[in-house]
């Protein structure tokens, strides 16, 4: 009996012991029990009060409980030794799209067949537009859309901002004319409700026309549609006020959520944020605000320093973008020089903040869709180097932002009772070598992951099979893309000829734009493909100078971006490294060349080229065996004619010309080939047929001239 009881007790004890060990104590539960922190011995910068050289800040229950030189850490606080650290109010990003849903791939993108209702070229690009239910207005003109209804709690972008020391932000949907109502959120929380500090904050207006093919389709229509809706909102308000006072005898006014959402703008109860960067955009925004007596805030404000008189007079604050413009184009000898206006603009941008401060215009900093969040503080430092006082810069990242956005009583400075958002650094935050050591949001520490490089594009790399509809013809081409950070290179092959892409870009949300020469119906044209990549599909429209617009859809082979990094040069480099021309910075690897780089060095044009001549819509294949020695070209050409000798030369840089006399249909015909060779040995990974170089140009004879293009395949080693 006793043994059994003992056994039972033992088993029960074991059971409890095991379960006790097994019961998960989540991180949240554990830290839920710690809600008091104290950072001691730190340099504290409250922003709205004098700096405290050495002091303590205590946060409890998500709020700042105490700040001062003589504050003692409470017994139940988790103490962080702040020696050598500086505590600032959590930084604020005054205008973002954080937490907004990513664009979803359009269902009709894959088919892209004409006649299938709204064509894919229109459906795909507008996938980011948030639609409100039962609206009388089309998407993009729905002011009732609210950011708070669609916030997603975590994303790479939110992580990147937190790592840059940003603890809260204003967020609004990505696009539209009436973009929607923004929300001020803390960048931490398990549910959207936990993140929201205040909503709605403001109605955002952008001045980009809808791309749906319906009104308004131009900047002209954007202004008129905004104006008409604001007039209608005024009438809506008047009619409802009248009706409320005495409904008897009056037909009830319509219920319209879109107009109802505009009423707070007219009554100045809600501010409107207007996106404007150039001087004329800002003036137009101010004119519109004046016309309807709106409480306006300018977002972007790159040239706001040119309009300070009016901004100050109308008491308009600016959410100044820190995404300063920089040159992104490579140095190419044949390119046009950049306009003076563009050069000036890039140099003036960092000076804007200092000028606004000098003119007593209120402003706060926003990240302005920058891809590398380190530029947030980095460019604030540049603004300081260009005339902005340090304390003004700090205010622009903290209390000014809070006050402009209506949360100045809740956060933005280190004052007792405010929300405990803190950014802690080693070193002055506006020093280039400062490091962010801790970030607190809502009184809780945030895990700082190592700075992730911002989303590097949609992963456009790969080999795509693209179907293009142009001038009621269907053609298929292969599009090979290689993405290296911001840069996109590649080439096309197939029914539109083989050629290198002239310029290409792929944005972080999947926007794609490629300009490439094509050969269509015997003529060379320049085509621009613009559209979207979503997963392994792409679709969009094609515009060709001189032809009517077309559409394209494509799928990526192999179901994923190729992993080969272009900078690790392929091994199959047949020729020795040429010397780099002066002034041309070499690409990352010395053995890979970029477009339009060094002149063809010895033997680079050599090899076997498969070319095709476009004659009357037909592609006539031929094989060219080239041998280059210095500037001389020799070799053989073989095609729908007997092999014939060729002789010619490299004329300059990458241009060549050679002649050959061939026998066509019993007649001797002199052919003159003139063209350009593009070497981009870093294009495609070596597997199957790696394309190693491309040539294109024209063949002239007494019978006329036609285009030709060719590729040189090299076996991979």
């Amino acid at each position: 009996m006793r043994i059994r009881q003992l056994l039972i007790i033992c088993v029960l004890a074991l059971f409890f012991a095991l379960t006790a060990r097994v019961t998960p104590t989540t991180h949240a539960q554990r830290s839920a029990t710690i809600d008091t922190y104290a950072i001691t011995n730190a340099h504290i910068v409250p922003v709205t009060g004098p700096e405290i050289q050495r002091g303590t800040i205590v946060i409890r229950n998500g709020l700042i409980a105490a700040v001062g030189a003589n504050v003692a850490a409470p017994a139940d606080a988790r103490v962080i030794d702040g020696a050598g650290l500086t505590v600032y109010p959590g930084l604020i990003d005054a205008n973002t799209t954080l937490g907004m849903p990513q664009p979803s791939p359009s269902p009709s993108a894959a088919t892209g067949r004409s006649g299938a209702g709204l064509p894919s070229i229109f459906a795909a690009p507008q996938a980011t537009l948030i639609t409100a239910p039962n609206s009388a207005q089309p998407p993009g003109l729905q002011p009732e859309v609210m950011a708070e209804n669609v916030i997603q709690t975590s994303s790479d972008q939110i992580d990147a901002e937190r790592n840059a020391g940003i603890t809260s932000a204003l967020t609004a949907p990505r696009e539209g004319i009436f973009i929607g109502q923004s929300a001020f959120i803390n960048l931490s929380g398990d549910t959207p409700r936990q993140m929201i500090v205040r909503s709605p904050v403001a109605l955002h207006i952008g001045f980009t026309p809808l791309r749906s093919g319906t009104y308004p389709g131009s900047l002209l229509g954007v202004f008129s549609s905004i104006r008409q809706m604001l007039l209608d909102a005024q009438r809506y308000r008047d009619s409802h006020v009248t009706y409320e006072q005495n409904p008897r005898g009056i037909r009830r006014p319509t219920q319209d959520r879109s107009l109802a959402a505009l009423v707070p703008l007219i009554t100045r109860d809600m501010p409107v944020v207007m996106q404007a960067n150039t001087e004329r955009e800002i003036r137009r925004a101010l004119d519109l605000a004046q016309e309807f007596n709106l409480k306006v805030i300018i977002a972007g404000g790159e040239e706001s320093w040119k309009v300070t008189d009016r901004l100050r007079e109308m008491n308009v604050p600016v959410l100044l973008s820190l995404n300063f413009p920089r040159r992104t184009t490579a140095q190419v000898a044949e390119a046009d020089p950049e306009p003076l206006r563009v050069l000036r603009e890039r140099v003036e941008a960092p000076k804007a903040a200092g000028r606004l401060a000098a003119a007593h215009v209120r402003f706060a900093f926003q990240s302005g869709s920058m891809t590398d969040m380190r530029d947030f503080i980095g460019n604030a430092i540049r603004a300081v180097e260009n005339g902005l006082a340090r304390d003004e810069a700090l205010r622009a990242m903290t209390i000014n932002a809070a006050e402009i956005l209506g949360v100045g009583n809740q956060l933005g400075s280190l004052e007792v009772g405010k929300i405990a958002n803190l950014t802690v650094t080693r070193g002055n935050i506006l020093d280039r070598n400062a490091r962010i050591t801790n970030v607190f949001i809502d009184g809780r520490p945030v895990e700082l992951r190592p700075v992730i490089a911002a989303p590097r594009g949609a992963g456009a790399s790969g080999s795509w099979t693209v179907n293009i509809k142009l001038e009621s013809r269907d053609v298929t081409i292969t599009l090979i893309l290689q993405q290296d950070g911001e840069n996109l290179r590649g080439s096309i092959q197939g029914e539109l000829g083989s050629s290198q892409i002239a310029s290409a870009s792929a944005g972080p949300t999947g926007d794609l734009r490629i300009t490439v020469p094509i050969t269509f119906q015997g003529q060379t044209h320049e085509a621009t493909l613009s559209g979207r990549i979503a997963g392994n599909e792409m679709s969009g429209s094609v515009t060709v100078v001189g032809l009517s617009p077309g559409t394209f859809t494509g799928t990526r082979a192999g179901g994923g971006p190729t992993t080969a990094a272009p900078s690790s040069s392929p091994q199959a480099q047949p020729t020795p490294t040429p010397e780099q021309p002066s002034g041309n910075p070499p690409a990352s690897s010395s053995t890979s060349k970029t477009l339009a780089s060094a002149a063809l060095a010895d033997t680079e044009a050599s090899g076997t080229w498969k070319i095709s001549l476009v004659i009357d819509d037909q592609k006539v294949p031929a094989t060219l065996m080239l041998k280059q020695q210095g500037k001389r070209l020799s070799g053989m050409i073989e095609g729908p004619f007997e092999p014939a000798e060729i002789s010619g030369q490299i004329t300059n840089e990458k241009r060549f010309s050679f002649t050959s006399t061939v026998v066509l249909g019993g007649n001797s015909v002199d052919l003159k080939f003139e063209g350009t060779i593009y070497l981009d040995l870093a294009l495609a990974p070596c597997g199957g047929e790696g394309i190693m170089a491309v040539m294109s140009g024209t063949v002239t004879s007494s019978l006329g001239s036609v285009a030709f293009a060719g590729t040189r395949y090299q076996e991979c080693k």
Binding site: Y215, S224, G485, S503
Partner: protein
């Protein structure tokens, strides 16, 4: 009396001798130096010893033009200016009024709201771009005023305005004071989109025929008549003290059409074929408004009498022909034939590029129709001013008119001549010498800016720059100037 005048002359001459004479060149106005410009711009300018083409009262040899506070203060010989005046020696040069371009799409960020066929609610005033380099180039071609229009994609297009090309000023200062606003209509192939296949998947927009173009216009005006009545009724009720009536909904599409009906807004109608010209005259007569100008009007010669009877002006090309079916019956004698029938005719550019040499366009009419020099010059000065209702202020060199004048280095109707200095309201907005002198400064500035960190190409990678054929036309020299859509 004579004695008194003599004494006055002696007095002013001695005054002039003792006063400082300011240097010849005024600085060209650019956005970066405009603040300092306003401070130092003299209020008086004396252009001396030029051949003055007054347009209104013949050619004056060896004459002076005195400009004071933006107006033409005196025209004659041996004029004297006050101390502090800017004096320009124009010996061997010609002075004529600034050219007025009656059909321009310069300086707007959007040309067509092509999604709907009645877009009267949109206004080019909302999208003005005062930094368009084309403005400066037009000043260099002697053009000082432009009628900035919506495009021709719609039967009823957008609202239009007249501007003075004050390059360097904010957009609000461009607007021509007191000029009535306009609205653009378009007839024929462009609004019915015959040369543009519909985008894949979309239905062709209505109207697709000339019948439809007419119907769209009639329908819009019918609704405008109703709209006007609703508002007239409302205002009458207000006057009576009846508070129970809510105002009608303001409809921005119909309001400009009501203004047309009330004669407060000019109609500029892009048109080609004789039948559509007559159609619009009939519609206008029916609704009780006047077409102010027919634009392009290449078959105007066929119906010149009807156009003259209606009282419309014609603003046309010098010698464009055959670029679309409706332009097939065009003749360069169109201008002369319409003129002889009593139509006020101007020659326009419809192009940033052509707006730089409207003097040559006018000169061609001496060949095609034997116009005299004066008649030819009127085509680009007084006539467009009359068409735009601004002839009280510009279009000729007369006392009291705005000092919008241009100094040419030769007779403006010669292909060898070029403007040297362009004045608007007495201020210099283009000066050839100043432009040349600035080039060295700009090169230096460019060299310096290109060294700045944000302007250096990225060390690694870098997007290949757009190839020359596709660069935006507003920033470069050889433009590819729009398409058929605008003509």
């Amino acid at each position: 009396m004579r004695d008194k005048i003599k004494r006055l002359i002696v007095f002013t001459i001695s005054l002039a001798m003792f006063s400082a004479i300011n240097p010849v060149h005024g600085q060209t106005r650019t956005p970066d130096n405009q603040a300092e410009q306003r401070r130092e711009a003299p209020t008086e300018t004396l252009i001396r010893n030029a051949t003055v083409l007054t347009i209104s009262h013949g050619t004056l040899q060896n004459s002076d033009v005195l400009i004071r506070r933006g107006k033409i203060a005196a025209v004659g010989q041996n004029l004297k200016a006050g101390g502090g005046a800017r004096v320009i020696d124009a010996t061997g040069k010609y002075v004529m009024p600034g050219i007025i371009d009656c059909h321009s799409h310069t300086m707007i960020d959007a040309i067509n709201e092509g999604t709907v066929s009645v877009s009267s609610m949109v206004n080019v005033k909302d999208v003005l771009n005062p930094t368009d380099i084309a403005i400066y180039r037009e000043l260099a071609g002697g053009t000082t005023t432009a009628n900035v229009l919506h495009g021709s994609a719609n039967s009823i297009g957008g609202q239009t305005i007249v501007v003075k090309l004050k390059y360097g000023r904010p957009a609000s200062e461009f607007i021509f004071p007191g000029a009535l606003p306009g609205i653009k209509f378009a007839l024929g192939e462009n609004p019915k989109r015959s040369n543009f296949p519909p985008l894949p998947g979309l239905q062709r927009r209505y109207p697709a025929t000339r019948m439809g173009v007419e119907e769209t216009i009639r329908d819009a005006f019918t609704r405008a008549v109703d709209y006007k009545k609703d508002w007239d009724d409302y205002r009458a009720a207000q006057k009576r003290g009846d508070k129970s009536v809510l105002p009608p909904r303001r409809d921005l599409q119909l309001e400009p059409l009501v203004e047309v009906l009330e004669g407060k807004r000019y109609v500029h109608a892009h048109s080609y074929r004789a039948d559509e010209i007559l159609m619009l005259i009939n519609v206008a007569n029916e609704f009780g408004f006047k077409v102010r100008t027919f634009q392009h009007v290449l078959e105007g010669y066929k119906v010149a009498r009807e156009i003259a009877e209606h009282g419309a002006g014609g603003s046309t090309f010098s010698d464009w022909w055959g670029y679309k079916i409706e332009a097939y019956d065009a003749t360069p004698y169109n201008t002369a034939i319409m003129m002889r029938a009593g139509v006020v005719v101007s020659v326009n550019s419809d192009s940033n590029e052509l707006a730089r040499r409207l003097n040559i366009e006018a000169a061609k009419m001496m060949k095609y129709g034997d116009l005299t020099e004066e008649e030819a010059l009127k085509l680009i000065t007084l006539n467009p001013a009359i068409q735009l209702g601004i002839q009280d202020r510009v279009g000729t060199i007369d006392l009291g008119k705005d000092a919008d004048v241009v100094i040419w280095n030769g007779h403006p109707l010669s292909v060898y001549s070029r403007p040297e200095t362009t004045f608007i309201d007495g201020e210099i907005f283009f000066d050839r010498q100043q432009d040349i002198a600035r080039r060295a400064d700009m090169e230096r500035e460019r060299a310096q800016l290109e060294q700045a960190e944000p302007n250096r190409p990225p060390a690694q990678g870098g997007v290949p720059p757009t190839i020359p054929r596709r660069r935006p036309s507003h920033d470069t020299d050889d433009e590819w100037d729009g398409g058929i859509d605008q003509r």
